[in-house]
Symmetry: C2
Subunit: 339 residues, 2 copies
């Protein structure tokens, strides 16, 4: 590529000028600008920063991106940033990306497949190094990504998707553990509050609930389907209370919904766990602060985010098949009936 | 700039090729790729997308950024993405940016000024169009931004900072309204749970609490200082209960802390609002789902985010002085003693 292609458009100050002004090598200027890979003595760094300020130097990442065919950015698409689970996931991904020197582009699909596809296309057009996608669908439309030859990691995916990296947890196994715990507490009529995904098959959490009940020879309890949100859970909780056969325990498919279920029960004067016990899924930070504190199946979000970021930035292109299922952990608190 | 500068580095397929293959004008290809500004009939869009896929075309935003001297990205720095308030703020900013065609780079400072400064420098080096900063400090270090001539908007800033756009709420006035409401309920000993900022002067919320008490001729209640987090609030709540003069009401400087205060009170068997009433600040979505639901001073985050994004993308360079204080609204729920 011609040298002209990497000239910053609005400035003629170069790294060389900064190095000369600060009395250091151009490599040292790089280390300061990029916070590495080598350390620079604080006094030297101050001199370089001063030179950058005085000269008005701006290291031109856009030019570097064009040169390298990479923008050193990762794109993250999540369904909903206001959901504490996805906020935590975004935080974990941002931290993992930052550690490896990548900036993070964040986009919300707001539960819309069309918006998800648009964001994905937009990220690809910005030449991100890789995309991390927590899709609203179990089988997202990834034709654009496939044709663009950009590594994609699917977050929160139980099943491997050919050609893509993926991380997830065993939803069924996690749900079974929670429901078994409710059964251990003596419950025989255990309901389900289930989130709605864009999918044709039952969510692993629903299968886990069913399988744990079947294993214990119990009938299916009532099901209330709702959005994966506190509002959704609130409505579902009210419907469960209004139903003919009120359950004595409920398994809820996300902490976010459980927060709403708890509110619906409190408002109706239903004691938790005395009248109805509750166990949920995710292990989000908020689950420790509900009243009573939620017994919940924790997903190891930090480890999952780090593994996904590492998988897509490892430089293998096309990406190596990579799909890792992480173990969940049942966090026992008080909503289940434990003291 | 030479034409060679805008050649995509890893592909020779151009917009022209796509237009020819799809049998449309290059303008139509643009509309499809950029989702506007004009609409394209679904059948035509499908043909263009098919051509993009078949030819492996990638509209090269990095090249366009270099040409325009803009990356069409905004950078957002927040103290902590896992805090629901900042997650909601990030969501609002992302939505406002997306509407105007900007992608959003997100970074967490994790409450560290050094990390905040590093992210800011990193964003500037990536030639973002503008930066939105919810600083951990009331007077952030913005020397880098000033020298880079990139518009900056300060989020959550009560005071105007010369040279920067800013949005915020009147913290003192909002806090006064909440404390007046607690006084109206008959409380005479009203404590404060206050977050800790990197600052030399009292937070507006603390001044508002003090001023409302003084206005009513009441003595200062006990103060517990803590981090702006549920954990911080939990510790503060326990300290208030252990203190010599237990208050009958508490004003809490953030919903996030209030969630922890409620847990501390519940655990100690303290009835809310019967034994101690609570009012807080922020009006985050989670505040509607605590038990009891929080009476809280709502910040209009969506409007603030939109105003900040509009201010920094309006194209005035250097940015016009812009500082807007938004009104808060006291949301009356049940933690204060209202039925």
């Amino acid at each position: 590529m011609a040298q002209s292609a990497v000239q910053p458009p609005r400035s003629v100050v170069t790294r060389k000028d900064v190095a000369r002004y600060a009395g250091v090598s151009t490599a040292v200027v790089s280390y300061v600008v990029n916070s590495g890979p080598k350390n620079v003595a604080p006094a030297t760094a101050a001199r370089v920063l001063d030179a950058i300020r005085v000269l008005g130097y701006r290291p031109n990442a856009a030019a570097r991106a064009l040169k390298l065919g990479s923008s050193e950015m990762l794109g993250l698409i999540i369904p909903e940033n206001s959901n504490p689970l996805f906020a935590q996931l975004a935080h974990s991904v941002e931290e993992a990306a930052d550690k490896l020197g990548y900036a993070l582009l964040l986009a919300n699909s707001d539960g819309s497949l069309a918006k998800e596809r648009r964001h994905l296309r937009n990220f690809l057009s910005r030449q991100v190094t890789a995309v991390l996608l927590a899709s609203v669908a179990f089988e997202p439309d990834l034709a654009d990504a496939l044709s663009a030859d950009v590594p994609i990691a699917l977050l929160n995916q139980e099943k491997a998707a050919p050609g893509f990296a993926g991380v997830g947890v065993d939803l069924r196994e996690g749900a079974m553990e929670a429901v078994r715990h409710l059964i251990w507490h003596g419950h025989r009529r255990i309901g389900l509050v289930m989130g709605s995904n864009v999918t044709n098959e039952a969510d692993g959490r629903e299968r886990g609930w069913l399988d744990a009940l079947a294993e214990a020879g119990l009938d299916e309890g009532p099901i209330a389907r709702a959005l994966f949100s506190a509002d959704g859970g609130y409505g579902a909780g009210k419907r469960l209370l209004a139903g003919a056969e009120r359950p004595t325990a409920v398994f809820v498919s996300s902490d976010s919904q459980a927060v709403g279920v708890l509110r619906a029960f409190h408002e109706a004067g239903v004691a938790i766990p005395g009248d109805i016990a509750v166990a949920s899924f995710d292990g989000s930070p908020e689950s420790a602060f509900t009243w009573p504190a939620l017994t919940t199946v924790q997903q190891p979000l930090t480890a999952m985010a780090a593994a996904a970021v590492e998988a897509v930035t490892a430089g293998a292109r096309p990406p190596q098949p990579f799909h890792r299922i992480f173990p969940t952990q049942l966090i026992i608190r008080h909503s289940c009936g434990c003291p």
